[in-house]
């Protein structure tokens, strides 16, 4: 419960369960800290105060003149009853282990039966119990059936105090929907378990609602025969009734005059009580007990350090066998591995060539050699085609000339492929389409060349991918081969220049 200074208004109900229209501000007692530990302690000690003493007879077990036979008689040394002629003679006496002997530590009536409790503690417990009776959750958890009552705390018109007939009281309880609680009492009527049955405590039942009144004008007589109902005057509040069993949260029905008197009885934190000399309500330890909101509050969060997350341990992989683990530790290892693979391939090739020479066989070209040859042929074809087209269209040539240097530069900066279409667009006519495509091709090339530029650092990703680098070179000319087929001559020239530049890299 958050103990804000806000005191909501409680509406008062008449005996027909209609809100009268008048309201009372909630007395400060209901905002007091609820301390079940104090309530339990005080209840424990208070409950001891209505005990009746018990003890055994002080003579019990000593009404004999027994004396020990001593040793040498082949019997235990326990005092034995004197005389003869009866069963009793010679039997053990006095000891707690003997039949008919006195018990160990006979109970005495001057045992400390009652307990005194500090007044402030008693008041604290009382105040806590009253506060808890205003919390629906606590009352429900105590077991009272309060689902249908109009409001909690339930305050009723003073007319109830004038009831004289039990029938009236029953009707009233029914009307304010407290009857369910009393039905529960009826249902809980049973025999006590244990020896209490034969000690005049035969039957037990649940506790029902507690009616607290300001003035008894017949009310007690009306309600007292209803099982489970208890009645107290507000000036004589009893913790044993407000927190039966030491547990807070009894269902309480207040009358209006009783409810209004609470402020005088207990005061508020600002005003001392009028009826209890110098008494003030207890101060809570925490002003704001809403833990969820506290933990989300900025003021608290800003001061906390960051939570320490448990790092799961990483599995160790042997870098000498696992290439990924190796590259994580030593990126240069890729270069070494790649070199090793290449040199081994080369040396193998050399051996084969040597043997072939000796045997006089011509070897098949390696994949790389075959690709290189293809590349050359394609280039030758492209150049010838371009020459043929040059013979047809001299105009396009002139306008393409200013762009080559720029396009060449563009090719070197890979990420700026976007600009080339714009520059290409300057040329009109058929050149309009072609340069755009030239731009595209250049952009593609740019990307490819960009890739190649990064290759030394990134080729290493998979050492066996060394074939990709020449593959990329092959791709670029392949694209160029397509593009010149559609383009004008000059872009093809540029592409040729740029492509020649790339293998040099």
């Amino acid at each position: 419960m958050s103990l804000s200074a806000a005191r909501p208004l409680i509406s008062i109900y008449n005996d027909k369960n209609e809100p009268l229209g008048t309201t009372v501000a909630l007395p400060a007692v209901f905002k007091a800290p609820i301390r079940p530990d104090i309530v339990n302690f005080v209840h424990d000690n208070m409950a001891k105060n209505h005990r009746q003493p018990y003890s055994v007879n002080k003579d019990a077990g000593h009404q004999t003149s027994a004396e020990s036979w001593g040793t040498g008689r082949a019997v235990a040394r326990i005092p034995r009853v004197r005389g003869g002629g009866t069963h009793r003679s010679g039997q053990g006496a006095f000891g707690n282990m003997c039949r008919g002997g006195r018990m160990f530590a006979p109970t005495k009536p001057w045992r400390r039966w009652h307990r005194r409790i500090n007044i402030n503690q008693k008041r604290y417990a009382l105040v806590s119990a009253i506060a808890a009776s205003g919390v629906p959750a606590l009352v429900m958890s105590k077991g009272h059936l309060i689902q249908d009552i109009p409001e909690l705390p339930l305050v009723v018109d003073d007319k109830v105090q004038e009831y004289s007939k039990t029938k009236q009281a029953v009707v009233f309880l029914r009307r304010i929907k407290a009857w369910a609680d009393i039905q529960k009492v009826y249902k809980s009527r049973r025999f006590r378990a244990g020896k209490g049955k034969m000690r005049n405590r035969r039957r037990i039942q649940r506790r029902g609602p507690l009616v607290i009144y300001g003035q008894d004008q017949g009310l007690t007589k009306a309600f007292r025969n209803i099982p489970g109902v208890d009645l107290i005057n507000v000036s004589k509040l009893n913790l044993l009734k407000l927190a039966p069993g030491g547990h807070v949260g009894r269902f309480v029905i207040w009358t209006q005059s009783a409810f209004s008197k609470l402020d005088e009885l207990f005061g508020s934190w600002r005003k001392t009580s009028k009826l209890k000399k110098g008494y003030n309500l207890p101060m809570p330890k925490m002003a704001n007990t809403d833990l969820t909101r506290l933990l989300k509050a900025e003021e608290i969060r800003s001061v906390l350090r960051a939570p320490i997350k448990q790092k799961r341990s990483v599995k160790k992989l042997n870098p000498l066998t696992n290439t990924r683990a190796m590259l994580r530790l030593n990126p240069y290892a890729a270069v070494l591995k790649r070199k090793a693979i290449l040199t081994s391939l080369q040396s193998r090739r050399k051996r084969q060539e040597l043997l072939a020479k000796k045997r006089g066989i011509t070897l098949e070209p390696t994949a790389a050699e075959a690709r290189a040859r293809k590349l050359q042929e394609q280039r030758r074809a492209a150049i010838q085609k371009a020459k043929a087209e040059k013979a047809k269209k001299p105009k396009v040539e002139k306008e393409e000339k200013p762009t080559p240097g720029k396009e060449g530069k563009k090719a070197k900066t890979p990420a700026k492929g976007d600009k080339t279409p714009v520059k290409g667009a300057k040329a009109p006519g058929k050149g309009g389409k072609a340069p755009a495509k030239g731009g595209k091709a250049a952009a593609k090339e740019a990307k490819v060349l960009g890739k190649e530029a990064k290759a030394p650092a990134k080729e290493a990703k998979a050492p066996a991918k060394e074939a990709k680098a020449p593959a990329k070179e092959a791709k670029a000319p392949a694209k160029e081969a397509k593009a010149p087929a559609k383009e004008g001559k000059a872009p093809a020239e540029e592409t040729k220049k740029v492509a020649e530049g790339s293998p040099k890299k």
Partner: protein
């Protein structure tokens, strides 16, 4: 059942109870009407957490970006260093050979420098060890059988090795041995814990002061016994090696007597191939 929890009326302490009642009632009725019309609002806590999350995300993105750029810079640096070291090792090797050849050409003799790095392996167990030997083995961090450490060779350590000779075998590791040991069996001492060296960050965190930021740096420092050899080798947890496949010759004799303990100079590398 009507809830009597306070409906946010904070500044009402001064008002008289009568006024309170009236105003309270009115406000309650108004609120009920309002609530009937409005759509359910997003709870404040949700809004708060959203805001907090967005701020945190923005901050995180910045930090992540910075970290990434730094990471790439470091990767470049590590690459360059590794390259440099490969060249250095190669040139060292060739230097030795070159000097020897030069000397031979002139009819002279080239005496290579004495070894500066040793790898020491404990080959005997825990029980019945003489106190002096026990202490020396403790100082070398050889607390278990088949534990190995890198040791810088100087007068002091050589004398220590002499004291514990029957309990250890040692020799001069070559580059391959050093690499294999550190890559395969390399564990770091981080906050008193034995942590596997799975990334350069572990090394950098501890040894950045010694200008060692990656595993290749570490290997270089160990192999070419540098200034910060002490820190580098102390950073490494003592190596836990397997018993050699193929077995020992005779642990109770010195290597020169046909056994295993003592200085076996270069032959330690063969042993390490079988133990790592």
């Amino acid at each position: 059942m009507v809830d009597t929890q306070p409906k946010e009326k904070p500044a009402q302490k001064e008002k008289t109870p009568a006024k309170e009642k009236e105003e309270g009632k009115k406000e309650k009725k108004e609120k009920r009407r309002e609530l009937g019309k409005k759509l359910p609002a997003v709870p404040e806590s949700v809004l708060k957490s959203r805001k907090r999350r967005d701020l945190a995300k923005a901050a995180r993105v910045n930090v992540a970006l910075k970290k990434r750029t730094e990471y790439y810079k470091k990767r470049k640096e590590i690459f360059k260093r590794a390259e440099k070291y490969v060249k250095e090792y190669h040139s060292r090797e060739r230097d030795e050979i070159r000097l020897a050849r030069q000397a031979r050409n002139r009819g002279n003799y080239y005496i290579p420098g004495e070894a500066r790095l040793a790898f020491v392996i404990r080959i005997r167990g825990i029980n019945q060890v003489a106190p002096k030997v026990r202490k020396v083995l403790q100082l070398f961090r050889l607390k278990q059988i088949n534990n190995g450490v890198f040791i810088k060779l100087n007068k002091a350590t050589i004398n220590m090795l002499r004291i514990c000779e029957p309990y250890v075998t040692w020799g001069y590791p070559n580059l391959k041995s050093v690499r294999e040991l550190i890559y395969k069996r390399g564990f770091a001492k981080v906050r008193g814990q034995r942590i596997p060296i799975t990334s350069n960050a572990i090394i950098e965190k501890k040894l950045s002061k010694c200008n060692i930021i990656c595993i290749e740096d570490l290997i270089h420092e160990i192999f070419t016994v540098g200034d910060k050899f002490k820190y580098a080798s102390n950073f490494l947890w003592p190596f836990k090696l397997n018993t050699p496949t193929g077995g020992w010759r005779k642990k109770t004799n010195h290597y020169v007597e046909g056994g295993d303990f003592g200085n076996r100079e270069d032959k330690i590398n063969e042993l390490l191939r079988r133990m790592v």
